[in-house]
């Protein structure tokens, strides 16, 4: 018997989030130009030069984005050490840092200007629902390792913070268009408009379409294979009503329609509609700065439509609303030390028919502190801690038969998280970085509260209702991590970074696998129940080696290698569908060469990924592991600037390596032509 629904895919993880702890208004472009390197607040909450952060960090700059063959944010991330980017289908991509990648990947907190774009209903990121155009990104910050002490729940394995250009910059208009094979087309427009004195408005809009990839004969193939279609608009108003006060108001609306592999790998159709709105105020003081804000994200998703072979399931509508309010202060202590204190409240609510009650919700109260000390010029010490208090609840009448009593959902727990780091400057332009931390992923609202009757493919007389349900007693997923890094400038133009890391993920959450384990329930009737559950532990350990440099006035290069060993102690995949030990590539290597002269530029990227096995849904409807072949992929972009226009020609996976996407659905080769026009 096999669950006949996408419901089987209502598995895995999710989280709730925490808000960004970024404090005060930071002019990233101006500070980068001044310091000669990017600046970030995503490591400790205080502004820091990229070379002085006590964590393993990558900052992808605006210039790198423009020259990269990548046409989206995951594509930009995939060439960096320790990053797994798996493009399961044309529109569905998951990003994982230091192993453990899965569909609907949790534990990676994704933010836009400190506002989460991570989706709490299922605990995942839809990279086509970011509401951001590439042309408005100032920089993309990737911080490896847990950052829960700063950002709260879900920043358990890494954080990605996408920073957009300031709305108060000079008047500008950038429009871009790309068209390519496989029905790919993308249009975007971004404008910044000064409005009066110290007030600026940034408007952006985008549209993208892309055909779905071809499904191999041995895997489940949905009858509806219509492609990706996304649209988005966003507006941001920035103002400085006083000499030391900065105000930001943001709102946006996005839609995305695409096929996705659920955590059980069942290919399903998802229709997302999202709205965001928020306001943030920053105030500089003589002793530091204070910041505060509130924002809300609304998500309306028609979820899990499956019309594939014997599986026939109409979409469930889920509505998720999250409200976050936070405040923090950065206090300069003495000459070069900083204390950060913060408080936050978030309220997260999921509504829909496929839940234990019409509404499942939780609230999280948080308090945090960070101390950044510089006892000498050569040594920096950072300590950060946070306490999150979680309370779960329900609303409305219980749906019967049920797997739990309402009182089971009256649950509270408190979790502490921390980061500690030391950064030691050595002679000869070298430095050693040691850090460790504990972060948490908490179960998603689906993990807690889903309730879906599973209909056997062949009705069996006398067999009672089988319910796929959440579990209110799920334990949060704890991620312990430590790393030692060594960075050295080998010359004025060449830099080396070596990092050794270890990470342990405890109580990973899995969805029911093929062999349904059921227990009887007599609450409001008789039913057999299969549940989300803590599947066990896994750990990753490895080495990341990065080297980059410049040769002469025209040529830049960057290369990295990652070795990741993943060991799991989990239940079998037919019990709980989770297999990080086989889905994580052991070896990855990237080489990027950039050339620029006068009006011309060219970027070549070579990516190697060793073989993996990824979970997939077979044509017979069985969840199993499919081999993904080792891949050497070649991406290429060539561009020329003609006046205010830039023309580009891009090839993705020119080598046609089937495993280049890291998906059981083979990757294809794509050619794109683009034009960008700026005023």
């Amino acid at each position: 018997m096999r669950p006949c629904v996408s419901s089987a895919g209502f598995s895995l993880a999710a989280i709730l989030l925490a808000t960004a702890g970024t404090a005060q208004s930071v002019d990233y472009a101006a500070l980068q130009a001044t310091m000669g390197e990017p600046v970030t607040t995503s490591v400790t909450g205080k502004p820091q030069r990229a070379s002085e952060t006590p964590a393993s960090i990558e900052i992808i700059t605006r210039d790198q984005i423009e020259r990269s063959p990548a046409h989206d944010v995951p594509g930009l991330l995939k060439t960096y050490a320790g990053v797994d980017v798996n493009r399961w289908l044309a529109g569905q991509t998951d990003v994982a840092v230091r192993g453990g990648v899965q569909t609907y990947n949790p534990r990676l907190l994704v933010l836009v200007n400190g506002r989460q774009v991570y989706l709490d209903h299922y605990g995942m990121t839809d990279w086509n629902l970011l509401g951001v155009q590439l042309e408005e990104i100032q920089q993309i910050e990737l911080v490896r390792g847990p950052a829960t002490a700063l950002f709260g729940f879900n920043a358990a394995s890494a954080v990605i913070n996408i920073i957009t250009v300031s709305a108060t910059q000079a008047s500008s208009l950038v429009t871009a268009g790309e068209i390519g094979t496989h029905g790919y087309s993308r249009l975007s427009a971004v404008t910044t408009l000064p409005i009066g004195h110290n007030v600026g408005l940034r408007l952006s809009a985008g549209h993208q379409r892309e055909n779905e990839r071809g499904f191999p004969a041995n895997q489940a193939s949905p009858s509806d294979k219509s492609g990706v279609k996304r649209d988005e608009v966003d507006a941001t108003l920035e103002a400085s009503p006083g000499a030391r006060t900065h105000l930001t108001i943001n709102g946006g609306y996005s839609t995305n329609h695409q096929l996705e592999l659920l955590p059980t790998q069942v290919p399903t159709r998802q229709d997302y509609e999202a709205m965001v709105g928020g306001v943030r105020a920053d105030r500089d003081t003589d002793w530091g700065s204070v910041t505060g804000g509130v924002y809300a994200n609304w998500l309306d998703v028609h979820f899990g439509a499956v019309h594939s072979g014997a599986t026939n399931f109409d979409a469930e509508q889920l509505k998720n609303r999250i409200v976050v309010a936070d405040a923090s202060a950065l206090v300069r202590l003495g000459l070069n030390n900083v204390l950060r204190i913060g408080a936050e409240y978030r309220n997260n609510r999921l509504e829909g028919e496929a839940l234990f009650t019409p509404r499942v919700h939780y609230g999280v109260w948080s308090g945090s502190a960070m101390l950044d000390l510089h006892p000498t010029d050569k040594l920096a010490l950072t300590f950060a801690g946070r306490l999150d208090h979680f309370s779960l609840g329900t609303g409305g009448a219980i749906r019967l038969p049920a797997a739990n009593e309402v009182s089971d959902y009256d649950r509270k727990f408190t979790r502490p998280s921390f980061n500690a780091a030391a950064l030691l400057q050595l002679g000869g332009a070298g430095q050693i970085r040691i850090n460790g931390g504990l972060g948490y992923q908490i179960p998603s609202l689906i993990d807690f509260g889903v309730r879906i009757p599973i209909i056997p493919l062949v009705p069996i007389p006398g067999v009672p209702t089988i319910l796929l349900t959440g579990a209110p007693d799920l334990r949060p997923v704890a991620v312990w991590s430590g790393e030692i890094g060594y960075t050295k400038s080998l010359s004025d133009a060449t830099k080396l970074d070596v990092t050794v890391f270890y990470s342990k993920t405890k109580n990973a959450i899995g969805s029911p696998g093929e062999a349904l384990t059921v227990t009887p329930s007599f609450i409001g009737g008789f039913a057999l129940v299969t549940r989300f559950a803590n599947a066990g532990d896994f750990r990753t350990a490895g080495v990341e080696l990065s080297l980059n440099g410049i040769v002469g006035p025209h040529l830049s290069w960057r290369t990295n290698y990652s070795f990741t060993d993943t060991q799991e102690h989990l239940q079998p995949i037919d019990v709980l569908a989770l297999a990080p030990g086989t889905t994580t590539a052991r070896h990855k290597a990237n080489i990027e060469l950039g050339y620029r002269q006068d009006r011309w530029f060219a970027t070549t990227v070579l990516r190697y990924t060793s073989a993996t096995h990824q979970l997939g849904d077979s044509a017979a409807g069985q969840v199993m592991l499919f081999k993904v072949e080792p891949a050497l992929a070649w991406d290429q972009k060539i561009g020329v600037q003609l006046g205010r226009a830039t023309l580009t020609l891009t090839g993705e996976n020119v080598t046609g390596a089937s495993g280049a996407a890291g998906s059981p659905i083979p990757a294809d080769r794509r050619i794109l032509a683009g034009v960008k026009f700026g005023l």
């Binding site: 502004p47 950065l330 900083v338």
Partner: protein, 157 residues
């Protein structure tokens, strides 16, 4: 007053100009600025000439309007908001600091000794990478304030 030429590097003018944009409140429009130099001091004169010939200096929403001020005629600093202190003026640092304090002038130099002595507000070094040092006492004496984000990225002494 005679100053001893030093081997201090020329001021990193692009960075020095950007530093001005982090002042609080943010200066806008035309920003009167001075290049303090010593006539007859080859190094100082060369640096002053280099600064003068750098072209339009845009500092955020403002533009610097430069003039030369000889170290022996600091009265010429009247009305100036920013002063670039050329190297080789060590013996005049105290007098420059006094003038800057009286007239609330931000002083910027490549001569670290001026900042270490608390006479100049900002020193900029460029090798092997940009390093900005701010003298809290000199900045306070000149009633100069920077944004907190900027101060968290520099070294304060």
């Amino acid at each position: 007053m005679l100053a001893v030429p030093t081997a201090a590097a020329d001021l990193n003018l692009p960075v020095a100009t950007r530093v001005v944009s982090f002042l609080q409140p943010t200066p806008e429009g035309v920003i009167p600025a001075a290049v303090i130099y010593e006539p007859g001091n080859a190094a100082s004169e060369a640096e002053a000439a280099s600064i003068e010939h750098a072209g339009t200096l845009v500092a955020g929403k403002g533009t610097l309007r430069l003039k030369r001020v000889p170290v022996g005629a600091l009265g010429g600093l009247a009305g100036v908001r920013v002063a670039f202190v050329t190297s080789g003026l060590r013996e005049a640092h105290a007098q420059i600091a006094a003038a800057a304090s009286r007239q609330s002038i931000l002083t910027i130099t490549s001569d670290m000794s001026c900042v270490q002595a608390g006479h100049c507000a900002v020193a900029i070094s460029s090798s092997p990478r940009v390093q900005i040092t701010v003298s809290r006492s000199a900045a306070k004496a000149a009633n100069v304030q920077f944004g907190s984000a900027f101060l968290m990225l520099v070294k304060e002494i």
